[in-house]
Symmetry: C2
Subunit: 458 residues, 2 copies
């Protein structure tokens, strides 16, 4: 590697090359994502109904399937400038290690204190709440990345932030909790005794360590019952994919700058926020017939909503207080077994991505934990960055695709999303090192039992 | 903040603007740093003597007080490209929060997995070891940043890495240990029962939780006794300051690009690796009479080597196996009280910086922990980045200087080094939040007792 490279190791956009508008992929979709339904009436949620839970401007973004570009307010662009543009990195060292003719790039979203891409939507949602004159926002967090991101955004805008953190994470990840405290957020272990739904869940399941669906129910209840508060969510929603399109827009601008055309685009998929954001502009070109790409969603074998779930209306939360969404789902009370990729444990999937997948516009694969951590460590040792377990799902498949190129001799260009860092996931790495990683995969019978409980909606 | 800024939030150099040579400030010093002495004979250490402990090419760099620029080998420049250039950030949000007319910039070295600037010298030292055909290197680590950095560098070059980690950190920072394991290093709690010095210290101080000086002694012993191994050190040494000059060179290039002339340059000082690197090119201009700057070293009040230590020859380690160095020191068996800025707990200070300080070319101030964490949190909430406690010492003084400008109305330009992130220091942040932070300052009597034990050398 002693010669100079024509493509830099890291492509950074200049500040004036950063996106000034988000891209709404729904505008180019022929089959739009199905509308959210009122859980009581099963009728499409109106803006007014949604306005009780979400900020007005975010409701508008949630329902708007037609506007292709939404201007990013200057205040949000200023915040983005504190930690963006994120680098598009050419993985020269990984390529050399693998001995592949493939060219591998990754968009690294981990260079900020939240440690992930979540901040892109957190600042947007906090901004619109502030603009509406609200006092604060409520949310849930599992692994803690979203809660941290929202705390940072709220602290910046001087907005109150109430986080319901899945109890098991609250207890096992005290450092994450402490980071949120640095940013002035209140963090409550969920299920708590502060909400009706929390009390109910605690009564029905004494000693429960909580779940994301349960924490969502609590956060929504608190937002709805407290004047001046709204609920915000870090994934799944259409508005989140809109905000996260900044990832894909920057990626595309960086590639275009060097005339690079990707063949394969890979991202990990939990609720879909990162994947949806990364692929948006590329999917747009594909939808408009301007270009073609292989787009691959990677999910954990322990929580395989795309690859083994149903495309159906389902509840977004355990308490069933949220609207129903049509999505690939394993059922709202599916709880994945011990699986350390905390951010990929959600039972459902973004309705936008679900529709695109159902329309055959993207692929999905599921991978096992041990193989994921093998890829994570291989990547860390040559590329330096210690990846989050979630992101490492994408690394696994990027390496697999690069190895296929090695066999065939094809010089494919692979781009994947490296959503974040694993500094708060060392317990999982320790289990991997000690050979105690869990590779449990749910059986067909188990999944069928959950699927049978899906709400019956035409 | 709705208008566009002329100076970007973050100044990134292009790859071709990155330094191609390190700058050796000793070349421009009229009073050179005093030579290292053989602990037995008290005569200057020869290259041959040092060669038993350090790699040959590093010995040469250690002893060379004359060559101003040392070319950075292409392999090291390639590694630098994976995580450098680091951004020079304009702290617009902090300035606004403080309401100061001062212009504040910080050079952020935390955007890599080691979480600090330590990687700059780790890759250089590992590279020269590899080039010499060695099997591996040994080192000590306290807080774990240096050990992590060295593990990363060794993993990249396929070199064995043995880390002696201060026992208290080994036990209290299992995550740091686990990161080193990701990179394939062996990590041993110090004092261990694997070395003569470790056995001796364990026998004399049963139940001791170790110290940096003791871990250094162990690592040196293992390097000297095992063929194909050498010892490497992350701070204090002249060679380390040389490698770390990349921080200052990038900073200066970024400032020059926008015609910015700093008035004050601030860095935290433990052993001096970051401060020395950051100020090198600026100090060079000052030494050559081309420019003038106020240069401020910030140290913890609990371990005040510059502000309350003696400028004298002292041992670098507890076991007294290392050469003697002339430096500002508190005495080699001074152990600071509970103080969470792990990287600033060293009893001595870089001989280069010690000489420059003694010559009146820079200032030093000491600050208390609680005030440091106040500054850290204030910074985190507006600038996003969660700073390491070490780095926060520099933040404290940068804020203090900016507030002085607010009083006087002066529009000074302040540059400080933000050496790293605090993700592995959340226990310290927790203590701060819970009001349990320790602000112990050693008494004059206490310091005098340690000073009385300094070796008597003319």
């Amino acid at each position: 590697m002693a010669e100079e490279k024509k493509i830099p190791y890291k492509i950074y956009l200049e500040e004036n090359e950063m996106p000034k508008a988000w891209y709404n992929v729904r505008a180019d979709m022929k089959n739009k994502p199905a509308p959210l339904l009122n859980p009581g009436t099963h009728q499409p949620m109106t803006a007014e109904e949604l306005g009780g839970v979400f900020c007005d401007e975010l409701v508008q973004q949630e329902l708007d399937n037609d506007t292709a570009y939404v201007e990013i307010p200057q205040e949000i662009r200023d915040f983005y400038k504190m930690y963006r543009p994120s680098p598009l990195v050419r993985a020269y060292c990984l390529e050399e290690k693998l001995g592949t003719p493939a060219k591998i790039y990754y968009k690294f979203e981990g260079n900020n204190t939240s440690g992930s891409h979540k901040l892109n939507s957190a600042i947007a949602q906090a901004y619109y709440a502030k603009k509406q004159g609200l006092k604060g926002v409520t949310t849930e967090t599992g692994a803690g990345q979203w809660g941290t991101a929202l705390s940072m955004a709220c602290s910046y805008l001087n907005l109150d932030c109430k986080v319901y953190m899945v109890k098991v994470s609250y207890e096992q990840k005290p450092f994450r909790r402490e980071v949120m405290r640095v940013y002035g957020a209140s963090v409550t272990p969920s299920p708590s005794m502060e909400t009706e739904i929390g009390k109910k869940i605690n009564a029905e399941h004494p000693g429960t360590t909580g779940s994301l669906g349960c924490a969502i129910s609590e956060a929504v209840e608190v937002a709805v019952k407290n004047p001046g508060y709204r609920y915000v969510l870090g994934s799944v929603l259409n508005q989140v994919l809109l905000h996260q399109s900044v990832i894909g827009l920057e990626t595309k601008a960086a590639l275009d700058k060097y005339n690079i055309k990707p063949d394969i685009i890979i991202g990990c998929a939990g609720g879909g926020s990162n994947l949806g954001g990364l692929i948006s502009p590329f999917m747009g070109e594909k939808l408009r017939g301007e270009a073609d790409y292989r787009i691959i969603a990677v999910e954990p074998a322990s929580c395989p909503s795309f690859t083994r779930g149903k495309f159906a209306y389902d509840f977004a939360d355990t308490g069933m207080v949220c609207p129903l969404a049509k999505m690939y789902t394993l059922g709202s009370d599916f709880i994945p077994s011990a699986n350390h990729a905390g951010g990929l444990r959600y039972h459902g999937m973004s309705p936008v991505l679900s529709q695109l997948y159902d329309d055959g516009l993207m692929e999905a694969v599921s991978v096992e934990q041990t193989k994921v951590f093998e890829a994570a460590e291989e990547f860390a040792r040559v590329e330096g960055i210690l990846p989050a377990p979630e992101s490492s799902h994408a690394i696994r498949v990027a390496i697999d695709e690069a190895l296929k190129c090695k066999e065939t001799g094809e010089e494919k260009t692979i781009v994947f999303g490296l959503t974040g860092t694993g500094y708060f996931d060392m317990v999982a790495y320790e289990k991997y090192h000690d050979g105690k990683m869990d590779d449990y995969i749910p059986s067909d019978e188990e999944l069928a039992a959950y699927a049978a409980k899906l709400p019956k909606i035409d």
